[in-house]
């Protein structure tokens, strides 16, 4: 290449502003523009005098300086003088004005480093055309209409285009005089050579070992003079290797007598090569699609990262800042990008062996969730993300389903149908302003070169775009759009995802399908009418299946899908088939082919397992899709992944298999698009083939790494940007603009169950009540109510507990869900010392050895008793006997009848006798019959259900527990698999309920405030997954908020709280969106007790401000005293 000759003394340069180094030193000829990239000719800009100036975007002369911030301050004498701190003669000013390109920064630099002295008033430039045959032929013909992607319009952009200049250091590899002098042009070359045998070998050697980055510069004869310093060479080498840029050097300073390893200061002028804007798509596409059966980090991906880093560094060096970028400051971003890349590098070093193995051997990748990478999301982060993702616009238009669809859609389902149709038909929302892709930045092509000369421009191309995250460059506006003709339907469970998809299947059919329907059995469509996906695998092409939607679902849901599909379709409007097991023998290739359009199934339902096994078969056959004539041989009209979180692990084979399913429209259904990692989402995006996010290194750089380096907000922001156009998500808690729930809730019935305390319980209650009242009255009289508040309150607490279970009163360290718990325990100590009370309570704790008893009965007795149960009660004639109870002489009656009869006789001062045999009855020898007919462990007995006898009185300790068990028993009889929640504010009471449930052989789980988050989650999971009759014991405080217990249908509130609002909140855990059945709530209230009075207080107030935290502690106490006064009245 030719360069303008420049001679003259090098000027000492100091950098006051980074942009200043664009200043040219070649002053001797008074023609600083002489040295310019020899890449194109200046036809479009007559002012440009140099033959070799690159084209320039537009003609705003002097507006933008090379390599500087385009918005930097314009030159102005006053500013200038105030900056340099002295008056400057007008001559100098005018020289500076001529040379600074209207940039005050540059002017200051020119002035201070003395360069201006070598400059004179700008003379009319001497035209010195040096035609460059290589490039001028193309560089000037501009075709603004042509798309830059089309190969025929390459010439709209010259071979290369100048973007900036920067200073760099090099070191000499050669000694001698006059080898290089100021303003000598050097070639910057990337050429592998033998490592130099110099004393710096060790430094270089290290670099060589890692990667060869040597960049040398040569003089015109091609003689190597030296090399670029490593920090520059690192990235310059990448840019050259990957044909992104070319560089030219100008010597700024070199010692007159050059010795090896002397520092040489160079100015590097950089031009972007045209090629970097093109060809990249293919490269990336190759990269992405390369592996049907080979994934993992590849060399390409590494190159990509290097390219990205190099570009970012380059832009940093030439100080080119984006004219348009999204959100965060570009500089800030760049640093992060570099950090991200470095993190990756580190990781590479840490485990290169493992990685390479994974690359070489795809078969070693796990099938399931093992070896997942990525950091787990905290719950609140997940919440935040979902919150953002589910800002559903209720103004979305609705679409009516096709008339072949047999079900009625709710409005929100019609809206999603509209959305899905729009996604599939790619109807872009016209109203939305075209926004730039968030990852891209816009840059203005420099208008002037390093010598402040105008650069030739290219019409309609004032700017270019770079994606610093991927290293992609573009001349076209990178619109934010997703090419994916599908999306993620992420409605919460219960909102009808299946139905919505079926409505879509009915409503949006392919043209071929429609024609086939119209024409009956005749074949109509021709292949050419069909849109085709690009080849997905290099090895073979999938045949179009234009009528068929493929559903991939977990095996257990296959039948459900088919029945739903039938239900949702008018007769013979939808042909569905399950492709699984024996039916798998079907030749899908023929069946679904276009030729068979009229008879092709509309819906094929298959399992993840089938997908995986066919995938493996094809993999074994080297990727020949057609070889199995199965799922992978076809390009479906639509594929739907149900429960798509099944593929959340991108490395799992199932996931990879799903990625490879070919289809025009791709949908993923899941209630949890992110289970616990952002990577979960990647896999869906990958399946959907959303450019560019389906590139993992892209995803990593932009989402995972920021997230892992704790920049959550940004990572989540980006995820949102990804999700927004892609995801439709509604939750059950959403309300329509009219405030109505999306899905109306089933009814809820609250019933108060009056509990009759037993005599013994009442004794305890009365005792505690009298004490409490006495204390209260005494304190009222003494005026010390507030002082004694804690003690009084504790006694009230005890009173309330005695309504639940007398023994609670004595519990010293009762675990109470109450703020005054500690105080209560203290006061309770006083109660516990009380001998009278003690004796009253004793009755409830007398131990019985009934476990032994029940095994001692002969089997025939038990059988007889069991059979008697179906008879009517001899006393009340109920049939069957209610709570069958037997006497010591084995005669059965209802428990109540028997007890009443005994009571009746006792009242008449008679010895109780058996109603059948008139044997005297020992009231300790009464046994309740416990039937195990509905228990989980049942199934081994073949001669009727197993029964055991339970000595009466053992769980009779508390009327509430007895009633609870009784109600649960009845419930179990009626609904053997129903789930119930039992709330109490006293966890110690829950502890008493537990054994009663265990005795009744009821499966139960428990959740209270003492449990860790993990344990709670486990409990809830167990409750959710349990298939049989299950009871959840829940403390009111721990379970009052947040939980979703819609799997339960019954609620038992064992004790009232001061404010019903709290109870209502607890009830709403069950009665909330997602609840499909009627909910029955039973509030257990001890009759004639403080509990009844608490109800009255609840009614009076409806809510107590204290429960909302609006009152001070003192106010709360005053409030409570009032309540207590009423309670004890």
């Amino acid at each position: 290449m030719d360069f303008a000759e420049l001679d003259g003394p090098p000027s000492k340069r100091r950098r006051f502003f980074s942009g200043a180094e664009a200043q040219e030193d070649g002053a001797t000829q008074q023609m600083p523009l002489a040295a310019i990239p020899p890449t194109s000719s200046p036809h479009t800009t007559p002012r440009c005098t140099s033959a070799n100036a690159p084209p320039q975007p537009n003609g705003r002369p002097g507006a933008v300086d090379l390599g500087t911030n385009p918005v930097s301050t314009a030159f102005d004498q006053a500013t200038f003088e105030s900056f340099v701190g002295e008056a400057v003669s007008s001559d100098i000013i005018s020289i500076l004005r001529d040379h600074c390109g209207n940039n005050v920064e540059r002017a200051i630099n020119l002035y201070l480093d003395g360069t201006w002295r070598t400059l004179k008033r700008k003379a009319p430039p001497a035209v010195k055309i040096r035609p460059n045959l290589k490039t001028t032929t193309q560089g000037n013909r501009i075709n603004p209409k042509a798309s830059s992607r089309a190969p025929t319009t390459f010439h709209s952009m010259p071979e290369s285009r100048y973007i900036g200049v920067f200073g760099a250091e090099g070191w000499a590899t050669r000694s001698g005089s006059d080898l290089l002098k100021h303003s000598d042009i050097v070639k910057i070359e990337r050429q592998k050579i033998q490592p130099p045998k110099t004393k710096v070998q060790s430094r270089l050697g290290a670099a060589v070992r890692r990667n060869d980055v040597i960049v040398r510069f040569t003089d015109r004869t091609g003689r190597e003079i030296g090399r670029l310093a490593k920090e520059t060479a690192d990235w310059v080498s990448t840019l050259i290797d990957q044909k992104i840029c070319k560089f030219e050097g100008v010597c700024v300073y070199a010692p007159e007598r050059l010795r090896t390893n002397d520092t040489v200061v160079l100015q590097l002028r950089c031009s972007l090569l045209r090629s970097c804007f093109f060809g990249r798509d293919f490269q990336v596409a190759d990269n992405r699609d390369a592996g049907l059966f080979n994934q993992g980090e590849s060399i390409e991906e590494k190159n990509l990262r290097q390219r990205q880093v190099a570009l970012v560094k380059l832009f940093q060096e030439i100080n080119l800042v984006p004219t348009r970028a999204n959100s965060a400051a570009a500089k800030h971003r760049r640093q992060e990008l570099l950090q991200a890349a470095e993190m990756d590098d580190k990781k590479d070093k840490e485990k290169p062996v493992v990685q390479s193995r994974a690359q070489d051997n795809p078969a070693s990748s796990p099938n399931s969730d093992e070896n997942e990478d990525g950091q787990e999301l905290e719950q609140d982060q997940l919440d935040a993300l979902y919150k953002k993702a589910q800002s559903f616009d209720f103004n979305t238009p609705e679409a009516e389903p096709a008339d072949t669809f047999a079900m009625t859609l709710r409005p929100y389902q019609k809206q999603s149908l509209y959305w899905m149709m729009a996604k599939e038909k790619d109807q872009r929302n016209k109203e939305r302003e075209e926004s730039m892709h968030p990852l891209w930045e816009e840059y203005t092509w420099p208008l002037k070169d390093y010598d402040d000369k105008d650069l030739p421009q290219v019409a309609d191309q004032p700017v270019f775009y770079i994606n610093p995250y991927s290293g992609d460059l573009s001349l076209e506006f990178p619109r934010q759009e997703q090419h994916c003709l599908g999306g993620i339907l992420a409605d919460e469970m219960g909102l009808g995802k299946t139905i919505q998809m079926l409505s879509l299947i009915h409503t949006h059919r392919s043209d071929v399908s429609i024609q086939a329907r119209q024409a009956g059995a005749h074949q109509v469509a021709s292949v050419n009418q069909l849109p085709r996906l690009p080849t997905v695998s290099g090895t073979s092409i999938a045949l179009n299946a234009p009528c068929t939607t493929l559903v991939v679902a977990p095996m257990s849901l296959l039948a459900q899908w088919q029945s739903e599909a039938e239900k949702a379709s008018k007769e013979s409007t939808l042909k569905s088939m399950v492709y699984y097991g024996t039916e798998k023998s079907a030749d899908l290739l023929t069946l679904c082919s276009q030729a068979n359009a009229a008879n092709a199934p509309d819906l094929i339902i298959t399992s993840y397992g089938v997908v995986l096994s066919e995938f493996n078969q094809i993999a074994a056959k080297g990727g020949n899709r057609a070889s199995t004539r199965g799922l992978f041989s076809l390009n479906f009209f639509r594929v739907i992944l149900d429960e798509a979180h099944n593929i959340k692990n991108r490395q799992a084979k199932t996931s990879r298999a799903c990625y490879e399913i070919a289809a025009e429209h791709r949908w993923a259904l899941t209630g949890t698009p992110i289970v616990n990692k952002l990577e979960d989402l990647f896999s869906l995006v990958r399946f959907l083939r959303v450019e560019p996010w389906n590139n993992f290194s892209f995803w990593r750089t932009f989402i995972t790494l920021p997230f892992e380096s704790k920049d959550f907000v940004r990572a989540l922001d980006v995820v949102q940007t990804v999700l927004e156009p892609l995801v439709m998500r509604r939750t059950k808690d959403m309300k329509t603009p009219d405030g109505l729930p999306l899905v109306p809730l089933p009814p809820k019935h609250i019933e108060i169950v009056d509990i009759e305390l037993s005599r013994a319980e009442r004794d305890v209650y009365e005792y505690v009540f009298t004490r409490a009242k006495r204390t209260f009255t005494a304190n009222v009289e003494a005026g010390t109510v507030m002082k004694a508040f804690t003690s009084i309150f504790a006694q009230i607490l005890r009173l309330r507990q005695s309504c639940c279970h007398p023994v609670l009163v004595r519990h010293l360290n009762a675990n109470v869900d109450d703020e005054e718990a500690a105080a209560a325990a203290d006061a309770a100590a006083g109660l516990a010392d009380d001998m009278d009370l003690q004796s009253l309570i004793e009755r409830f704790t007398a131990t019985t050895d009934d476990a032994a008893d029940s095994n001692a009965f002969g089997a025939h007795v038990l059988n007889q008793i069991r059979d008697e149960a179906s008879n009517e009660c001899p006393i009340c004639a109920e049939e069957p006997i209610i709570d069958q109870t037997v006497t010591g002489c084995w005669h059965s009656a209802c428990k109540k009848c028997l007890l009443d009869y005994i009571q009746y006789q006792t009242d008449k001062n008679e010895l109780p006798r058996c109603f059948q045999c008139r044997e005297p009855i020992n009231s300790r020898d009464l046994f309740e019959v416990v039937r195990h007919d509905n228990d989980l462990d049942n199934g081994k007995s073949d001669d009727g259900p197993r029964i055991t006898l339970q000595r009466l009185g053992v769980n009779n300790s508390s009327a509430k527990i007895v009633t609870l068990i009784k109600q649960l028993r009845e419930l179990r009889q009626e609904r053997p698999t129903i789930k119930s929640v039992v709330f109490s504010q006293f966890t110690s009471f829950l502890s008493f309920i537990e054994p009663a449930l265990a005795r009744a052989n009821m499966h139960f789980v428990r959740l209270d405030g003492s449990m860790s988050q993990k344990a709670r989650a486990a409990v809830l999971e167990e409750f959710k997954e349990s298939k049989g009759f299950t009871v959840l014991l829940l403390s009111l405080k721990a379970g009052g908020v947040g939980l979703n217990l819609t799997m339960a249908k019954r609620v038992f509130m064992m004790d009232p709280w001061w404010s019903f609002a709290i109870e209502a909140q607890a009830i709403d855990r069950v009665h909330r969106m997602g609840q499909e059945d009627e909910v029955k709530v039973y509030r257990f209230i001890a009759k004639d007790s403080v509990e009844e009075r608490m109800l009255r207080i609840q009614d009076r107030k409806k809510f107590i401000a204290s429960s909302l935290g609006m009152m001070s502690d003192e106010e709360k106490r005053v409030q409570r005293i009032e309540d207590i006064r009423e309670l004890l009245s």
Partner: protein, 150 residues
Amino acid sequence: MALPKRIQKETERLMAEPVPGISAIPHEDNLRYFDVEIHGPSSSPYEGGVFKLELFLPDDYPMTPPKIRFLTKIFHPNVDKLGRICLDVLKNNWSPALQIRTILLSIQALLGAPNPDDPLAADVAKSWKEDEKAAIATAKQWTQQYAVPK
């Protein structure tokens, strides 16, 4: 007060499966009040007679036994002249497991086997003990006179 299930069931059964020789029909205006007829057992002095009784179920039935008495005059050592019956199951030996049907059967049996050792009508018991034949004749005559439908 609603009629307890037990009474309903007993009534239904008495109607559906009547005991031979015994009928019990509740009053329409008081379902606890029954008109009862018992045929005198064969080969007893009461053979051929149809004895009317009234039966009332008290509120605490079946804790307490039903109240029952003969309306038809009868010469029987365990029935007084007001028609009250001396029968253990109607007194101490009552059990809620017993029913109207069983009680009426017991009364029918009592007709077949008078028990002068546990008398209610002392004079009748006395004559029964002193001259059983004469007593039986009297019983037969009373039956003819008061109990045989004309």
